[in-house]
């Protein structure tokens, strides 16, 4: 599911790792290339398990590969609006 508040740097990390192809990354973490494409385009947020595997392949800390922006999270924005109304 596309979630604007979760972003990733997979494309950048692939570039930094000798231009690793989407296929190579897909094979390394056991998913299809289409799933990697969907993640890079921000159309799909992976499970925690897959996200950790991707970070492990790039040998990077988790938060270097995946970022969470609370300001864009509808859960908090809705709560903020409700609190402002009250």
């Amino acid at each position: 599911m596309a979630k604007e508040f979760i972003s990733n740097t997979i494309r950048k990390q692939r570039f930094m790792n000798d231009e690793m192809t989407q296929k190579e990354l897909a094979e390394a973490v056991g998913v299809s290339r289409q799933t990697i494409v969907a993640m890079e385009q921000g159309k799909y947020s992976p499970s925690l398990e897959l996200a950790f595997r991707i970070a492990h392949v790039f040998k990077m800390p988790f938060d270097e590969v995946f970022q969470y922006n609370a300001d864009k999270d509808p859960l908090w924005t809705k709560k903020k609006k409700r609190n402002n109304l009250n």
Binding site: A2, S32, Q34, T35, A38, K43, Y44, S47, E49, L50
Partner: protein, 148 residues
Amino acid sequence: MHNKEKQTLFTLITSIVLMIIYAVIIYQKRVVPDPEIINDMQFWGKYFLLFIPVAIVSMIVCYIIFAIVNKIVTSEDIEDVSDERDKLIELRSVRISHWIFTFGFILAMGTQALGMETWVMMVTFIVSGVVSSLVSELAKFVMYRRGF
């Protein structure tokens, strides 16, 4: 178009074509010579059961042809990896299909409660089965297109 999208679209079209061909054959061979047969439950039972192996074998043959044509045209193998995204899409499409068929089942029971003929119930079953399967494939295609 990615392989999964192509496969889903192919399944959608193949199921429609197979269903139409099977229905036309049965209609011409059995219903045209004896129109009263549509009220015979044994007729419905026999042709429902016969459709299952016919559909499975035809789909396998069609998939083999699809894989060969796809390999020749794109020189790419069809990935047989089913990852978490595929499973989520499958789960969602099965849920949609389940609700449509449940609605069809209730509708079929409704036809009997209203005192309609048996064939109306059987046709409602078939239509709801076909619609649920088609909508499920269509939903899969849409989900693959938009990411999930």
